[in-house]
Symmetry: C2
Subunit: 247 residues, 2 copies
């Protein structure tokens, strides 16, 4: 009916994306792209502009840039799919599709509750908490960053000494008699902070899907507050919604 109005000539960015898209498609997975200065020269743009255009492809998981090594085309990875009606650990989801995941960079610390944590966990401010941060890897690549915060009486650091594979949920299910019932998760899109970007080996500002969740027992007590950052392209979350007034 109507035609989209599109500014074309001045926007090098879009032309670049088209060229890069073709170049990536024509490069076998695992292979390296030309170095940035050379590629910029080839395409007739500055390196800054080239890098900006490359960002979106990295965000989609099509390429991976590694400092000191180069930029590589990534093959279509297996996707971890999950509905949001049931809470399951990444390990459980991965096992279902025979995908191997591992944990890297585990960091356990004892902290005092900040106002945000105190509210989320329904504890006093400055209460003693245990925080468990770790990166989840699939196919030798970081794909998620998970931070769980729990009251010290729910889980002590010692409980993590042996056989912790990355899932606090599985640990609580196996090693405690807590009647876990539900989890309430808020869903947000966020930009990667410099710290999280470093851990996930992406650029700062890249998009991440964030779940901020509280884990409840059947008595309504909060036993865990978690932040889960997911790289796009490796996870696929879906939810079935009921239409109001139907049923």
């Amino acid at each position: 009916m109507t035609q989209e109005v599109q500014v074309e000539s001045t926007h090098i960015f879009q032309r670049l994306q088209t060229q890069l898209s073709r170049m990536i498609a024509e490069t076998p997975p695992g292979n390296r792209l030309p170095a940035e200065p050379e590629l910029a020269k080839q395409l007739g743009v500055s390196r800054a502009t080239l890098r900006e255009a490359m960002r979106s492809f990295e965000g989609q998981g099509l390429i991976r840039r590694r400092q000191g090594i180069g930029t590589f085309v990534v093959g279509h990875s297996q996707v971890i799919e999950s509905g949001l009606e049931v809470l399951e650990s990444i390990e459980t989801l991965a096992r279902r599709i025979q995908l191997e995941v591992s944990m890297g960079a585990l960091h356990v610390s004892q902290i005092k509750a900040t106002p945000t944590m105190a509210t989320a966990l329904q504890v006093e401010e400055n209460a003693q908490l245990v925080q468990i941060a770790r990166v989840i890897q699939a196919e030798r690549r970081p794909v998620a960053y998970l931070v769980d915060t729990l009251p010290e009486d729910i889980l002590a650091p010692a409980d993590l000494q042996q056989g912790f594979t990355g899932s606090v949920l599985d640990l609580l299910l196996q090693h405690s008699s807590l009647p876990l019932a539900t989890s309430r998760a808020e869903i947000q899109a966020v930009a990667a902070s410099p710290e999280i970007a470093r851990l996930l080996e992406i650029q700062r500002g890249d998009v991440l899907l964030l779940f901020s969740a509280q884990l409840f027992t059947s008595t309504g007590k909060v036993v865990d507050y978690s932040l889960s950052y997911f790289l796009p392209g490796y996870f696929q979350f879906h939810v079935v919604r009921r239409v109001e007034g139907s049923r």
Copy 2:
């Protein structure tokens, strides 16, 4: 020759963010920040670096940059909160909290099904479809971009001539006898394309929450395929998840 050696060269970004954060907090909502060249000089950085640091604050909805006018501090806006168990239109959600929303930039077109659309809508490729794209505004600011695609026999362009306020869901509920039952939505974090960035008045590459949804009737027929892009900071989606099976 007398080039300055950079001090804390790897931390300029974080220092900048701290300074900007304080500056934004101290500026009353609605007021303007200094112009970029001046602010860059004040803070002792280049304009490019300043702009990069400002991006995250715009992504959080704390500031708003408007070409030709300036950069403004935004007051804490009212948040549209919704659970994902029930599908409701933004209009319905907004009405509940007495928030005024309006529709801008309605764009209705007749198109032929692309492969993606054909799959999602369970129709033949090149089937005649109606596509409805529009921006949703709250507090005189674009906050969401919605694109609905439907088979022509479900909804004709003529049905949109009068009284369409932005919600295809509400229109289908009111003006058709279709037994709408459920919606299946995939949840992703995406970077804004140049086109969507322009429509939502944000920067390209800014983070958006995207729902890709199919709307089903009780007989399992797909009547609508929609893409919904949400600005962070204006919406809060949550879901309650059931903990499955203690082993």
